[in-house]
């Protein structure tokens, strides 16, 4: 992926959720983590659409777990961030930090 690529806002949030959850990151846990930390109600469709996009870009990898009874006998798909994913995450953070530098005063006034 290009060195100039950055994460979109929701992609960024999803990637951070994956890092927080480590090896427990699948649809339900990612959705819960984001809702818990951002207070936004998000749909499972939005989570999978974003994870698919990130996987297509090579920023996350996935593998299937075992089927469980509480899921009606269906498997979970676990996700984890790749090296490329960490790089783009760092790049996005750096860009945001550069953009927000010196704005602390403005934020205090709001």
């Amino acid at each position: 992926m290009a060195d100039r690529d950055y994460l979109g806002e929701f992609e960024h949030v999803v990637m951070l959720a994956l890092l927080r959850l480590e090896d427990r990151a699948y649809g339900v846990s990612v959705r819960h983590e984001i809702e818990l930390r951002t207070g936004r109600e998000i749909s499972i469709g939005a989570v999978y659409a974003t994870l698919d996009r990130l996987e297509a870009k090579g920023y996350v990898k996935s593998h299937c777990g075992d089927p469980t009874p509480e899921r009606g006998g269906r498997s979970k798909r676990f996700f984890r961030v790749t090296g490329e994913g960490v790089a783009v995450l760092n790049r996005t953070h750096r860009a945001l930090r550069n953009m927000t530098e010196g704005l602390t005063l403005v934020w205090r006034c709001l």
């Binding site: 998000i42 469709g45 939005a46 999978y48 996009r53 469980t68 509480e70 899921r71 006998g73 979970k76």
Partner: protein, 212 residues
């Protein structure tokens, strides 16, 4: 693996919508996630609350599932869309031509006025709708696994074309009657989607049967 029975009944309508719109390979993942959270919510807050949550999740997920299908297979979606356009161009006038060929061949206009009236009005409308149903079914057949996205795109394009055409008729010629014909044109779009729904449902049922 065979599905385990869930103690609380899942909202089947919402489940059907997910089966319809999700990418084929993601249906079980999404339904599994929803099922897991549904069971938790039902035990904590009751079945009614869980069902409402399930429906809300489904409705909020649909736009993402459709757009995800476009992004996952842009080539397949574009091919299905182009097939739909071409097919529609080829077969759109077919019912009318066949009907009036029959009318002429058997001189229906002179001998069977009631039959003629039916053929020139209701039967034509039905044939027209069936033609678009066929177009939708073929589009869905081509877009295997992502049936609904190109069908919805095609239906939306036809609906927009109808609106633009009707409004331009009104602006240029003051033909307000063309606005009334909009519902007729919208039924074309609806028939395209219905055709895709039928193909997707048949495919899903075949998959479920073969998975048992």
């Amino acid at each position: 693996m065979k599905s385990q029975p869930n103690p609380d009944p899942l909202p089947h309508g919402a489940e059907w919508l997910i089966r319809l719109f999700a990418n084929a390979e993601e249906i079980d993942l999404i339904l599994g996630d929803l099922s897991e959270e549904f069971a938790q919510l039902a035990s904590q807050s009751g079945t009614a609350f869980a069902r409402k949550w399930y429906w809300r999740q489904t409705m909020k997920s649909l736009p993402h599932l459709v757009s995800s299908a476009f992004r996952a297979s842009p080539g397949l979606t574009a091919t299905a869309l182009a097939t739909g356009f071409l097919l529609r161009h080829l077969v759109a006038r077919l019912p009318e031509s066949v009907t009036f060929a029959l009318v002429d061949r058997f001189d229906i206009y002179s001998h069977h006025w009631t039959v003629y009236r039916f053929m020139a009005s209701t039967a034509l409308d039905v044939e027209h709708a069936l033609t678009f149903l066929f177009v939708g079914a073929v589009v869905a057949f081509v877009a295997k696994g992502r049936e609904m996205a190109p069908a919805i795109a095609l239906a939306t394009i036809y609906a927009l074309m109808a609106v633009v055409g009707s409004v331009s008729h009104v602006i240029r010629g003051g033909e307000y009657a063309s606005l009334l014909r909009l519902s007729w044109y919208f039924s074309d779009s609806l028939a395209v989607i219905l055709g895709a729904v039928i193909v997707r449902t048949l495919r899903s049922n075949n998959l479920s049967l073969s998975g048992r």
